[in-house]
Subunit: 193 residues, 2 copies
């Protein structure tokens, strides 16, 4: 009943996600967002209601895509030590490349909007928890397989690895060389030995 939508909602969210990723939330004003999503103001507000909700959808989408593939090894149901290492390798690769200059959408937004928007904070904290839990499960498997040292709990190591991840994201903003990022990841991963 009624006129059919002329755009694909998921596709529009995907484009919004990329813009927020590149520019941040405040630095992506509505006109830019509309141009990027190829939507009229009316269609935008008709479909999403407000800008904040698009960010929420964008974050959801971002996690679905496993942070542009970086986290895919980690979310492998069989993930262990090798997948943790591969995840960090991809993270460094991504961060050192052109797209990586923008860092991680979740960590960026956490810094930018979490302080003033408690709803966004919860959403972003949940996304981070998802990654942390991925690390924890991988550590559990690694410890069971004997490839990861048992002198720290999986949760402690998982927290620590997520923390290293976030740190790398901040570091990437200063445009360090790939060698620097590799060095940080290498030292951090020694916790697994």
């Amino acid at each position: 009943m009624g006129r059919a939508r002329e755009f694909d909602e998921q596709q529009a969210i995907d484009k919004a996600m990329r813009l927020f990723w590149r520019k941040g939330y405040d630095a992506a004003p509505l006109p830019d967002l509309l141009r990027e999503m190829d939507l009229s103001r009316s269609s935008f507000y008709n479909a999403f209601g407000q800008k904040r909700r698009v960010l929420a959808e964008a974050v959801r989408r971002y996690m679905e895509h496993g942070m542009d593939g970086v986290l895919l090894p980690l979310f492998d149901p069989e993930a262990g030590r090798a997948q943790i290492e591969e995840t960090f390798r991809r993270m460094v690769e991504h961060t050192a490349g052109d797209k990586g200059r923008f860092g991680c959408l979740v960590n960026n937004c956490m810094t930018e909007v979490a302080a003033r928007d408690s709803e966004a904070r919860k959403l972003l904290a949940a996304a981070r928890a998802q990654v942390e839990d991925g690390f924890v499960r991988a550590v559990e498997r690694g410890q069971a397989q004997g490839t990861i040292a048992r002198n720290e709990s999986p949760r402690s190591i998982g927290r620590f690895l997520l923390n290293t991840f976030s740190g790398l994201n901040v570091a990437s903003k200063g445009r360090p060389g790939r060698a620097v990022l590799e060095d940080i990841a290498r030292v951090a991963l020694r916790i697994l030995d």
Copy 2:
């Protein structure tokens, strides 16, 4: 020669620093900034020229104060392993407390403005380098004294510790319990063993 200034410039910068720290750069609009600094628009532009320059001055001030005292042990000329540990203890203390909810001004701004403002990026990268160098020197002393393991170069460990620092800053945005932050710091500091 002419009328004397009615405000103290350093004091005004100090107030601006606290506002940027609490709210971020974009989220601290000029009217708020003027109210906080207790300055008229004219006095503000007469003294500083533009908003960006106040951020630069604020960052300088922030580093002078050693990140509200957190970094003071690290910048001790005799700093070694004990001072590194004390710095992290203070960082966790600060982050878990009320003021710490705002995180680190430098890391916050790095995430927010570095991507679009190359001048700010250099300034913030320099501030981070200052902290990294502090860690490096402390590690050098610790290794010389035999209190820090020698299987990694001081630079590698310094980079890693700064990275952990940045990660803790991001983590703090999600309002984790103190125990979580302590756990992350504890695991990270094992690199010194």
